[in-house]
């Protein structure tokens, strides 16, 4: 058998996270010799999905290998499940808990990319239905208010006064057409820049449209901003609200964003890796890059190869090396100027049906809901960041029937952030379920990454060693990732790269023939 060392590799991809796996997909028909390694024993990197037991192993790894993962301070708590039927934790493998539950807007560039590369049929897409906002009344009453996320919703809403509805409709009309079919994805044009200037979302809504303050938080939740309305720029928010509106109805009525069944980004990552495996790529798990030896002669010719050694002891040669910072040997990593957020995954003993109402007649059954907790509703100052909880029903395949998975996030890392998420989870359960609902299991961790979608281009440093930027901390899939992958693909393909061939493939022989 030919050993890894004997092959003249064109590309070594290190790590099987979403970025690397989409690059694997992009290279799957390139004819290049690709070796794809991951020092973890699982696929998916920082977008992996786990059973309960795998999650425990992951938490131990994160805590013991400090600095080797874009995660910190992982801890697991078993809940107070009783032995009553339906209120206890099921077997470990009944769960597929995702480190990347981010929702994908129908207008995201990811979807046409998955379609043109012919891998979308290996994935199951489901609808994220309602947005909710937590409100805290005088006294002790909490409730969840369904955010009117479409024009129809605004008309039907009976909480908003007619006058307020008028301001809201004026705002929506102003930010542009949102009819399905009109491409408004990410459409922050120059006119928008002139229009909003440096204003915050609060200032913009108040001064320009007189949208009453009580509607600021609902609008903020539609853009999934992880800062308070006062600290969210109108420029950022308006582009994202436009995306939300423009995504409605694209793939069916009543929803505009999607979730991927069986573990979100982890599934997409594995589809990418499978495509490269079918294309002849070689996969080795449990093996990372131990050391990089730059070529002896520094002037790089087309055929010169970088020598590197793998953690399994093999020494290999390759033209290109690609990976995220954490997939390179410690001493060759660049310093990471990362943002940090607190995140948690909570399994609860209720289907929380009230959060997943049918959003349109004949539309798909929603499997996901977004619940926003403005800082103030949790007793924090007005300008503190909101807590988001993405709720996934058992239809996502992530937990057994009768349970739900709550993915919490707040842009305040550490124990303060975890305490906020904890309170939010408790309030959610109080508002959306009876008092008998239990937290069965939870995982808390800090995640490192990019809060903004800037400077996301891969860095070639030194030449031919391509470093992917830190993963996005956005709660929705960040299209910048597609550009990142395309950029890396262009670097590797060199003169062979034709833009229109990026991720555009025919079905393979034997697949999907009728």
């Amino acid at each position: 058998m030919e050993s890894l060392a004997d092959t003249p590799w064109d590309v070594i991809i290190s790590g099987t996270g979403l970025a690397q796996s989409l690059l694997a997909l992009a290279l799957s028909r390139s004819g290049k010799n690709v070796l794809h390694v991951d020092r973890n024993p699982y696929y998916g990197g920082s977008e992996a999905a786990f059973s309960l037991q795998e999650a425990e192993e992951w938490a131990n790894r994160v805590n013991s290998e400090t600095g080797d993962h874009p995660f910190e301070d992982a801890s697991i708590r078993l809940g107070d499940g009783s032995s009553e039927t339906g209120t206890q934790l099921s077997a470990s493998r009944a769960y597929t808990l995702s480190l990347s539950p981010q929702l994908i807007y129908a207008r995201s560039q990811l979807l046409p990319t998955l379609v043109s590369s012919k891998v979308h049929r290996q994935l199951e897409f489901q609808a994220v239905g309602s947005w909710w906002i937590h409100r805290h009344g005088d006294g002790n009453d909490n409730w969840l208010y369904r955010v009117p996320g479409s024009r129809e919703d605004i008309f039907a809403d009976d909480m908003i006064s007619v006058k307020s509805k008028r301001t809201l409709m004026r705002f929506i009309r102003h930010i542009g057409p949102s009819q399905p079919g009109v491409d408004e994805a990410g459409g922050a044009g120059s006119s928008l820049e002139e229009d909003v200037g440096d204003a915050s979302l609060t200032e913009y809504l108040t001064s320009k449209f007189k949208v009453p303050e009580e509607l600021h938080a609902p609008l903020l939740s539609l853009c999934l901003s992880q800062a308070s309305p006062q600290q969210t720029s109108a420029h950022y928010a308006v582009a994202r609200i436009k995306r939300h509106l423009a995504s409605l109805g694209v793939y069916g009525s009543g929803f505009g964003s999607l979730a991927v069944k069986w573990g979100g980004g982890s599934e997409i990552a594995q589809v990418g890796c499978r495509a490269l495996a079918v294309g002849g790529g070689v996969y080795v798990l449990n093996t990372g890059i131990e050391a990089l030896d730059y070529p002896v002669e520094h002037a790089i010719s087309d055929d010169s190869r970088i020598q590197l050694s793998l953690t399994n002891g093999e020494s290999i040669k390759t033209k290109f090396v690609v990976g995220s910072n954490w997939d390179f040997p410690t001493e060759t990593r660049l310093s990471c100027d990362c943002d940090k957020v607190a995140r948690s995954i909570t399994v609860v003993s209720s289907a929380l049906e009230s959060l997943f109402p049918a959003t349109a007649e004949g539309g798909p059954v929603p499997v996901g809901a977004v619940v926003t907790f403005p800082g103030a509703s949790l007793g924090e100052p007005d300008d503190s960041p909101p807590v988001y909880i993405l709720v996934h029903s058992s239809e996502t395949g992530e937990c057994p029937t009768g349970q739900c998975v709550l993915y919490g996030s707040v842009s305040r890392p550490g124990s303060d952030g975890q305490a906020l998420i904890d309170t939010a989870v408790q309030q959610l359960l109080q508002s959306a379920a009876g008092s008998d609902v239990k937290v069965l299991w939870s995982l808390r961790y800090t995640q490192l990454g990019r809060a903004e979608s800037i400077s996301a281009q891969p860095v070639s440093s030194p030449e031919r060693i391509i470093r992917l930027p830190p993963p996005s901390l956005d709660l929705a899939f960040d299209d910048v990732l597609i550009d990142t992958v395309k950029n890396a693909w262009q670097t590797i393909m060199g003169d062979e790269a034709n833009d229109h061939e990026f991720m555009t493939f025919e079905d393979r022989e034997g697949a999907y023939e009728e």
Binding site: Q126, G252, L276, V282, Y283, G363
Partner: protein, 262 residues
């Protein structure tokens, strides 16, 4: 079961993800080639990495569409397997009836599937290359399926088996793994069991039909790839209301090609 909205066909259709595992050169790809194209190639090149094919299997009450992941058997591709058996509803673990070490490897795969794959996965143990044995012809139409094999004498009756094997060998029979040994193991582990020949086609379709029949209804409804399940959202617009599957391929124009009853 949801009723199909298509006028052309009354039978519901479900997708089933199936993965093939087994030692190198036992005939995994050849089994798939026989099933999908009813074809056979002598001296087929080893599979590199993996291959993906689809084939339909029509049952009396439904159509099962197999999404078949054929994996390379060589050890250097061992890291691939978890990607394929994850969320698979069925696995075909193949060994070569003329090579005892391949059954040992098959047992390792079964153990790994039982440890790591979805709890409800349907596993079929398949002894291939039946054409190299004396049973080549008589086995036709006589599936050695679970529960169908003749009752065996006392367990561990190796002597009988071996003397039988010697006889076989003297008559030009290349069989090295007795049917009874493999079927007893399959029964113990709750696996479907078949002996096949990808070369002659014996029992090949039967394996897939048996798997299709063994997939629990519940798994077809909520399992991976279920084309007519609840909780999946359809992008094609032609799906039942309780469905939650969103189909990206048919944005705007329902071509009735993929994922729906067609």
């Amino acid at each position: 079961m949801s009723e199909s909205t298509s006028a052309n066909t009354a039978k519901p259709s479900s997708s089933v993800k199936l993965v093939l595992l087994g030692e190198a050169a036992v005939g995994k790809s050849s089994l798939v080639l026989r099933f999908v194209n009813n074809d056979f190639q002598e001296n087929k090149e080893p599979t590199i990495g993996a291959a993906f094919l689809t084939q339909k299997c029509s049952l009396p009450t439904r159509t099962i569409k197999f999404e078949i992941w054929d994996t390379a058997g060589q050890e250097r591709f061992a890291s691939l397997a978890p990607m394929y058996y994850r969320n698979a509803q069925a696995a075909l673990v193949v060994y070569d009836v003329t090579k005892p070490s391949s059954l040992t490897k098959a047992k390792h795969w079964v153990a790994e599937l039982q440890r790591q794959a979805s709890p409800g996965i349907v596993i079929a143990l398949v002894g291939n290359k039946l054409d190299l044995t004396n049973d080549a012809n008589e086995a036709a139409g006589e599936a050695q399926a679970e529960g169908e094999h003749e009752s065996s004498p006392a367990e561990g009756d190796e002597a009988t088996e071996e003397s039988q094997e010697e006889q076989d060998a003297s008559s030009g029979d290349a069989r090295k793994v007795p049917t009874r040994e493999a079927s007893a193991y399959a029964e113990e582990e709750g696996l479907l069991f078949f002996e096949t020949s990808a070369k002659t086609g014996v029992n090949v379709v039967d394996v897939f039909t048996a798997i299709a029949n063994a997939i629990p209804e519940s798994s077809l409804k909520s399992g991976r790839g279920a084309g007519a399940g609840t909780g999946q959202t359809s992008l094609s617009g032609g799906r039942p209301a309780e469905d939650s599957r969103v189909n990206l391929g048919e944005r705007g124009a329902a071509t009735a090609k993929e994922g729906c009853a067609c």
